[in-house]
Amino acid sequence: MASTAIPGTHIFDGAAARKGYALNAMCFSFNEAANRDAFLRDEDAYCARFGLTAEQRDAVAKRNVLAMMAAGGNIYYLAKLAGIFGLNVQDVGAQQTGMTVDAFKQMLLDNAAAIPTKEMAHG
């Protein structure tokens, strides 16, 4: 269990896993194409079938990843849902950090500047 919080970071621990079970179970089902299709055909019915909480249903309706995580969603399962919406991990990162996708991608590129120079010799 986290002794001190890490800013901007959510540990998927027992409390989250418990809270998020229904949402994550729905996302896990999206490994199958037929289930993704069923979700797209009738999102309400599909969410109801998995017993999403009101908070989870609302987060899904709003395509709001931070809200899904607050409702117990785990990013590995949520990524399967994001895929249905055509969102990749940069899109999801941009949404969570409040950046444009281009700015988020630039930030990723900028991380390279922090590579210690002696390391470059190995590259």
Partner: protein, 295 residues
């Protein structure tokens, strides 16, 4: 007796699979990452492993929160990679080696590891992409023993426990009476964080610490708690646990054969390393010596 030649350590970002499927290996974005692989393949061509012990983590293909194992070991004759939700074509997965799986399982339980044994198992991109990178355009010419480590649901096993797991696997390999040439793979990482307001976080300094110590002093990587690793490496950077476990299977002394580190691929600091065992180097084939000079 079986020979343990060393290990290949690599990131396993799903987007790599997409780049392979698109044939984007030479695009400017991808080239620095794929350039890491010719030296790896050269080493594989010299050492010619026929078994891969694959330390990886499942991302929600085979395991869900109804039954989430800390350590799971495949004992199947065949494994499959399947649709993980994005509709990407599955990569070929080589056959299993159930006899060796069971020998490892026996050893691990004797050494007080409380593993989950899987006679039917899907393996996800974290196992299939590294194999596709090492042996492109074909099914890898090896048998595999997949060992999945929980990096999804906390509490995760400590780095110390993962290193001990790998060392126990190493003992099982040392006792194995087959004549196979065995390598390990450790996949995932390095630093990255997909979720939360800190999404996009990377930490080259910590990654360098991991890469520098992986060969000579892997215990150094176990001084951080899982919580500290998340802080240093990101919520998904904890996949370094797979590297640590794989390293443990290689014995005390290993040599770094090659290394590549590149930022970014997708949201991740990408790294590829080859470590060679003392035994493989002592066998002293000309190829191994040549490769070592490249390192």
């Amino acid at each position: 007796m079986a020979k343990v030649i060393g290990g290949v350590f690599t990131s396993h970002v799903p987007a790599i699979g997409g780049a392979i499927h698109r044939g984007a290996q030479n695009e400017p974005y991808w080239k620095p990452f794929f350039d890491a692989w010719p030296p790896v393949r050269e080493w594989l061509g010299e050492q010619v492993p026929d078994v891969v012990i694959m330390f990886y983590n499942d991302h929600g293909l085979n395991f869900f929160l109804d039954k989430m194992p800390t350590f799971a070991i495949g004992a199947a004759a065949q494994y499959r990679n399947e649709d993980e939700g994005w509709g990407l074509p599955p990569f070929p997965v080589p056959p299993g080696h159930p006899e060796l799986s069971w020998a490892i399982i026996e050893k691990l339980v004797a050494e007080e590891f409380d593993i989950t044994t899987c006679q039917d198992m899907l393996v996800d991109h974290a196992a299939s992409i590294p194999l596709a990178l090492a042996w492109p355009d074909r099914e890898a010419p090896v048998k595999i023993v997949p060992i999945a480590i929980n990096t999804v649901q906390h509490p995760l096993p400590s780095a110390k426990r993962c290193l001990a797991l790998g060392r126990a696997v190493g003992k099982a390999l040392a006792e194995w009476q087959g004549d196979e040439t065995i390598m390990v793979m450790g996949t995932g990482g390095l630093s990255h964080q997909l979720d939360g307001e800190r999404a996009g976080f990377m930490n080259p300094e910590y990654d360098l610490f991991c890469m520098d110590n992986l060969s000579a002093d892997p215990d150094a990587l176990t001084r951080h708690s899982v919580h500290e690793i998340v802080e240093l490496s990101g919520t998904q950077g904890v996949e370094i646990l797979n590297w640590i476990a794989a390293r443990g299977a290689l014995g005390d002394k290993v040599h770094e054969v090659s290394r590549s580190y590149h930022i970014p691929i997708s949201n991740t600091a990408a790294a590829v390393m080859v470590l060679e065992t003392e035994a493989a180097r002592a066998a002293g084939n000309a190829g191994a010596e040549k490769t070592a000079e490249l390192a």
